[in-house]
């Protein structure tokens, strides 16, 4: 209650216990955003693996975190402007005398298609894994690269 008054929130009727906490949580989120400058929740496509797509003027770079998966267990294919990443994560079974205290890592299959905004050159796509991070370099096709146009003076 004290926090509410300090923050200047209107003190209307008490609608539901969760409402108050939600408002406090949102205030804290906004405060932390101002301090750290990072957005709290990032929008994702909801499909494993989470990817970061970046570009420079020649290529697109797609990176995904795939710990514990070897490069020959990942299937990558390019169709038109879509990149498809699929595979399976297996967790090596330990011997039967093992007693688990905690089990947080998942195993299973994944399959994801990422659509790129511009045309790519499928013949020169390269992919590599390093320390559990998959990097795919997709060169843009010539028509998608920016072209410098000379400005002539008349």
């Amino acid at each position: 209650m004290i926090l509410r008054r300090v923050q200047g929130l209107p003190t209307w009727d008490w609608r539901s216990p969760v409402e108050e906490l939600e408002e406090m949580r949102r205030q804290m989120e906004r405060l932390s955003q101002d301090v750290t400058g990072t957005i709290y929740a990032e929008p994702t496509a909801g499909v494993f693996p989470l990817v970061n797509v970046t570009e420079d003027k020649d290529n697109y770079y797609i990176r995904a975190e795939l710990p514990g998966i070897k490069s020959d267990e990942i299937d990558i294919s390019v169709t038109g402007n879509d990149l498809s990443i699929s595979g399976e994560r297996k967790i090596h079974a330990e011997n039967e005398n093992a007693n688990y205290h905690r089990r947080e890592r998942d195993e299973g299959q994944f399959n994801r298609i990422i659509c790129l905004p511009a045309e790519i050159d499928p013949a020169n796509v390269e992919a590599q894994t390093s320390d559990g991070i998959l990097t795919v370099v997709l060169p843009k096709s010539e028509s998608a690269k920016p072209r410098q146009i000379a400005v002539k003076t008349s």
Partner: protein
């Protein structure tokens, strides 16, 4: 837990760590997913730390607290512009309290494909030893 082979992996956002101590490091710190299990002789911890290199890994065991700190460098070059970003890269931090005595010189750590496998051999508890009293 019945794990079927056809189960699909669900994406899990990386959990940001909230430590009581203030971070001196700039940037987010995340909690790596771990599997912990023990056998009769040792405790084994498997941690998913994609992007962390073996040489930047800090494993610290003191006063029954095991700390794991891994650094993942941001792999993007400086000229790259973001199109679509779903995850952040940052440090991996996790601490555990151990209930066993560990044979410290024999701790083994192996980092492969972004997965750390830490083997902590247990030390035998001090056995009560009978002391024979010689009659002098």
């Amino acid at each position: 837990m019945a794990d079927s082979k056809n189960k699909d992996l669900k994406p899990k956002g990386k959990m940001e760590v909230s430590t009581p101590a203030e971070q001196t490091y700039q940037g987010p710190s995340f909690t790596p997913a771990v599997d912990i299990f023990e056998t009769e002789q040792e405790i084994i911890i498997l941690a998913d730390m994609p992007g962390a290199k073996a040489k930047d890994l800090k494993i610290d065991l003191r006063d029954d607290t095991l700390s794991l700190i891994g650094k993942a460098e941001s792999p993007e070059g400086t000229i790259e512009a973001d199109v679509f970003r779903e995850y952040q890269t940052g440090r991996y931090v996790r601490q555990f309290t151990l209930s066993y005595n560990i044979d410290q010189p024999k701790i083994d750590a192996e980092m492969k494909d972004g997965v750390l496998r830490l083997t902590l051999p247990k030390v035998e508890a001090a056995k009560p030893r009978k002391i024979a009293v010689k009659a002098g």
